[in-house]
Structures are given as structure tokens and as C-alpha cells.
Amino acid sequence: MKKDIGAIIGQIDTLRPIPQVAHKIMAAAKDPQSSMAAISDLIQYDQSLTANLLRAANSAYFGLSKKVESLHQAVVYLGTDKVVDLVLLGASSENFSMGQKGYDLEGGDLWRYSVSSALIARDLAEVTGGCDVHTVFTSGLLKDIGKVVLSQFVADSSEKINFLVSNHEFSFREAEKAVIGIDHAELGALIAKKWKFSDRMIDLIRHHHAPMEAESEMEASLVYLADILCMMIGIGVGSDGLAYRFHKEALEKTGFDDKDLQSIIAGFGEKISHVEELIGT
């Protein structure tokens, strides 16, 4: 018995949309005509964004030797790209703070997972080069927003979903679709659309478990690889575990080999304890 999809979609309104200023900052960061001064102007008039940014910039994650006390210093020490990412991080956290019972996630787990996969996606995008790093980072950060809404419906159907995953070789996403009628990636894309995200970002969120179906296959492959690396490392992973499909096309598309990905895992393992400080838990 499938759920009433309309009722699920209606729940999107219980989320708090990403603030307008974050959209403006994302657009400015992508615009080659836009200067850092213009981006700074957008940030500095929002006190909470600035406060979050300074806290994150001073976390051990970045290991800066000097304390960053202003937006200007943050730009000097970290560079525009990282400052923009940190602003987006601060603007996105609110919806992720609660636990998601359907996925057996405690409060903060999904945010820890999301930030970790965004950071890994950024690392991968920097190695690959030639793609839009901010979009990859932000998509990594928000790709599981659908889980926040779908959680209560997954909780209601957890027995059926787990049965399909354990006994019929369904991936967790396939089981969500079969039992509830919509999966968290589809729902995430609907949320992104409602929040007026770019078409590319909607595409990346929609296809973060099936990158070869995305229009932006390269970026989708990076977001996808970061996601499976996080599952493998095990940061804030819930009852869905590692029950998602491996697509070797993502390796072929990005050119990463086994050793590259092991190095990414090792690199992230070294700074994993600092992630807690970065996200302020």
C-alpha cells in the first residue's frame, strides 16, 4: 500500500528554506564578473552568517596559526572559495539538527554525514579540476535533505523496507520507492526545486545515487563518490547502512582509481576529529 505522495510533498513546507542571502552568495560566487568585495558585502550584513563563518574558520579543521577575527581576514587566510563554502554551511544547518527516526539517526548525525560528504566532494572536485566546486560542495551538503522529510514515512514502513533490503537485494532507495512511492533523492530534488535552486543542483540532488543518469555527469559522479566514501568510512550512517548501489561508471568518468580513493579516505581520517569542531557539535 503506497503512501499518498501529495501528503509527503506537503511536508516540505515544514522545512525552513535556505535563506535568500545564501542563494545570492552562491550566484555571486559562480559569476566571474563578481568580486570578493561584492560577496563580502552580502555576508557582512548578516550577523549570524558572519558569526558562524568566524567560528568555523577558527576551528581546528583548518589549523590556522592566527585567530581569524574578521570576514576580511577569513578571506585572506582561507581564500574566497572556502569562505563561500563556510557561509553555505552555516546557512544550511538548521534543517539537519534534529534526529531522523526512520533512518535511526540521532540529532546531529545527518548533519555530520552531510558536512563530511560535502568536504570530501570538494576534495575530489579540486583534484579533478574544471568543474564548479561550489555546486559540488553545496550538492554534497544538501543531497540528503529528502531524508529529513521522508524519515517519518520510512519509520512507518521500516519493516517492509528492511525486508526488501535484507531478502530481495533491493537498495535502500529502491525499497523506499517500492514501499512509499517516492525515494529520498526524488523528494530532495522536489525540495530543491521549491527552494528555487539552480537546475544543475536539482539534477545533482536527484541523481546522487545514480550519477550516470544526471545531465551533469561529472559533478554528479563526484557527489556520488563522496557519498559512498562517507558510507564506507561510517560518519553518521543510519539504518540504511551501505545498502546503495556501486556504479563503477563514476570511477571511469572521474578517472579516480582505487589508490586515489584510499588516499582520500586516509586524508579524511586524519582530520575527522576536527569536523566535529567545524560543525560546532
Binding site: 528492511n162 561510517g234 548501489r245 579516505i265
Partner: protein, 159 residues
Amino acid sequence: MNITVGVADMKVSKDPNAVLVTYSLGSCIGIAIYDPVVKVGGLLHYMLPDSSLDPDKAKVKPYMFADSGIAPLFLEAYKLGAKKQRMKVIVAGGAQILDQQGFFNIGKRNHMAMRKIFWKNKVMVSHEDVGGNVNRTIKLSVGDGSCRLKVSGKGEYEV
């Protein structure tokens, strides 16, 4: 009192009130050891099979790799009076993404690396919960050696 063993981390204890815990093992492996005579416990959480990937990193973070992390787990427990032949050894983790057979299957390789080291050093495993697509948590009570495993989507059980 819970003592958390992080990712690429190891702890040993003989405090009877201590519970060693490591959360969310995906393709990583957790090894819990316990000597019931001296009541000494240890827990390791490693990420990757082989430190030849990055020997410098292995010097700073030996618990990241099977080959540099497993020996110190046992050696530190010996320092507290534990003996190998009395040791209960519980292993969990080494999961894989669906359809990952043959491609970048770190979970399986982590398990193989451990088995090789145990075989060479004549270590017997008392209980193993490895592989599949689940993530796992290990809790070892140092006071009585009881060990609980939590498996995603399946719940918690006592070993």
C-alpha cells in the same frame, strides 16, 4: 563510563567501570579483545588494509591501517597483564556497498588483511560479524567482558 574509540583510534583499559565503544563501522573494522582473568579490554577501529599506501601517515596515525594498528592493540593490552592465549577476540565491520564485488572493495580487503595477520600470529577469533551492507557499533564492558554489537536495520545483540 563510555570511552569512545574514534575512527583510526585504539583504546585499552582495565577500569571495571569502563565501556569501550566504537560507532558506525562501515567498511572499517573494529576488533575488541578481552582477557577475562586480568579483566583487561581493548578496542581498535581501523580504516584501511595496508599502510604502504602512506607510510608517513601510518607513523602519525598507526591505527588507521590494519598492518600498523593490530599489533599495538595487543601489545598495549599485554602491558596491562593480558595474555594472548586467554584473549576473547570479537570482530565487526568490513561492510561493502551493493554490487561492489571486485571494485574498490575496502571492506573485504580490510577483513582479509586482518585474517592474514591473525593467522601468522595464531590469534583465534571468538565471534565475527562482518561483511554485508550494514554498519555496526561495538560496545565492550571492561568489568565483565560482555560485548554488544549493534547492526543497522537489525538491532542490537549480546555476543
